[in-house]
Symmetry: C2
Subunit: 277 residues, 2 copies
């Protein structure tokens, strides 16, 4: 049996009782590093805290390991119980569909244990979940690569009066250009896009496309460390949010569409003006 | 302090460790009946199982009670810890924004503990969450009221190649027409829309609008009891799904947009054809 278990947002105590029971029934426990490093990794003792609370040794499986050794992990699960822990929900922002497809192809029983992910926890900012359009991702620009595929999607959402959740780029364990050239494995330090970088990129793309999908006065909500005890939520114009220090990752951004009165009331509590007195 | 705690989908064991800790620290615990009856209520001993596991007496707060006595609940929370338990995520399909707004208005500290909701757990059907457009609700038609506000939304999503999550109507503790006339409180028996009813209504509205947003051959995924141990997921055309017995509530329906290969592979596992051999 392969269990794919969502850990939710926050720390090791955000697992569900059902998830904990499953982990404790397993012979082998993996935790996906790609995203988990982001939250648990912020506390340097994240892994050992998990191992202590769950009562199991946990193997950190980074993206490379999962891609290269998925078959071995699945083989283990054919004659024992294996848990694969995932930050958020197993089918949240990052997908584990591929692992499930592989497992099902060899007739392996898969059980998924759900948890919160950014896709629903974002509701805390007060904008109704059913009023969101398509979600977009904002990738880090480089000197030569400034992709804008998010732009027409945001434009459409705005024309329809819908909110847009922008997921901001994460670069963890990216091979360095030098290492690619030399055939050795060296990695760039991890990078997490901050809200002000995302807004600057958004404004640059608006300027080059010029369709008035949004501008510096467009109302947004910036959210840092969603679901953590020290999460920070600030509502204001793009221009206003450029100056807010949101602190440690992860950051995400919502571009606000048309709002109902109860949405307005919630945004008021997070407004940069009410926060700054 | 007011805690608003998501219970997730399934049963009492889907609470998170953080949520359980919070419940146990509270002097008074309410559970919202409007949605909770749907899942925990299916097992007649749902409430007592929760009380036993959480180690607290729990007051069932139906919609009427919350609307009429919100101020009293909030007053209790000003000088003690009060938990308000909610099926799914506090800001999932059903919103608790209003309670939070009222609490914040009187300066009450509110802590939200997230969990899975239909809005992210739907990812299990294999369609990527970021490829969904606006979510729609399908209300029960009556002889004289056949609202179709979902139709243009589905139409737009389909034109953009996006998937559409359809939330199906729930009628719990609706005053009966007779009771409204006599001024006494009597209630209709609860009703939960089934997938075949939703599809019949969708096809009726397509026929009267005639814009070819979808038809009987359009691929859909029907999901019953999402997140429960006996959940049922079947992919097929609207016409095919009309004949599937999905069993007990809750049901929901996804109208499939354009698909990527890995989405196709997952849908194949749930296909009505592969299930029926």
């Amino acid at each position: 049996m392969l269990y794919i278990i969502g850990l939710g947002l926050g720390d090791e105590r955000d697992i569900t009782l059902r998830g904990l029971e499953a982990v404790r029934s397993c012979d082998k426990v993996y935790v996906e590093a790609y995203t988990s490093l982001l939250s648990f990794g912020l506390a340097s003792d994240g892994l050992s805290r998990m191992e202590k609370l769950y009562g199991k040794d946990i193997v950190v499986a980074d993206r490379e390991m999962v891609e290269e050794h998925a078959d071995a992990i699945l083989r283990e699960a054919t004659d024992s119980n294996v848990a694969f822990l995932v930050v958020g929900d197993p089918f949240g922002a990052t997908t584990h569909t591929d692992l499930v497809v592989r497992a099902k192809k060899i007739g392996l029983e898969v059980r998924v244990i759900h948890n919160a992910s950014v896709m629903n926890a974002i509701g805390i900012c007060g904008l109704q979940l059913y009023r969101y359009g398509e979600t977009v991702s904002i990738p880090f620009f480089t000197d030569t690569w400034r992709p804008d595929s998010f732009y027409p999607k945001i434009h459409r959402n705005r024309q329809l009066g819908l909110h847009t959740l922008c997921l901001l780029d994460i670069r963890v364990k990216e091979p360095s250009l030098e290492s690619l050239c030399r055939g050795k494995k060296c990695y760039e330090p991890p990078r997490y896009m901050q809200i002000h970088t995302a807004i600057n990129q958004l404004l640059e793309i608006e300027e080059s496309n010029g369709k008035s999908a949004y501008d510096a006065e467009t109302k947004c909500v910036g959210i840092a460390r969603l679901g953590y005890e020290d999460q920070k939520i600030v509502a204001g114009s793009m221009k206003d949010l450029l100056d807010v220090d949101f602190g440690l990752p992860l950051h995400c951004l919502v571009i606000v569409g048309e709002t109902h009165p109860v949405e307005e009331e919630m945004l008021d509590f997070y407004s940069i003006k009410s926060i700054n007195g």
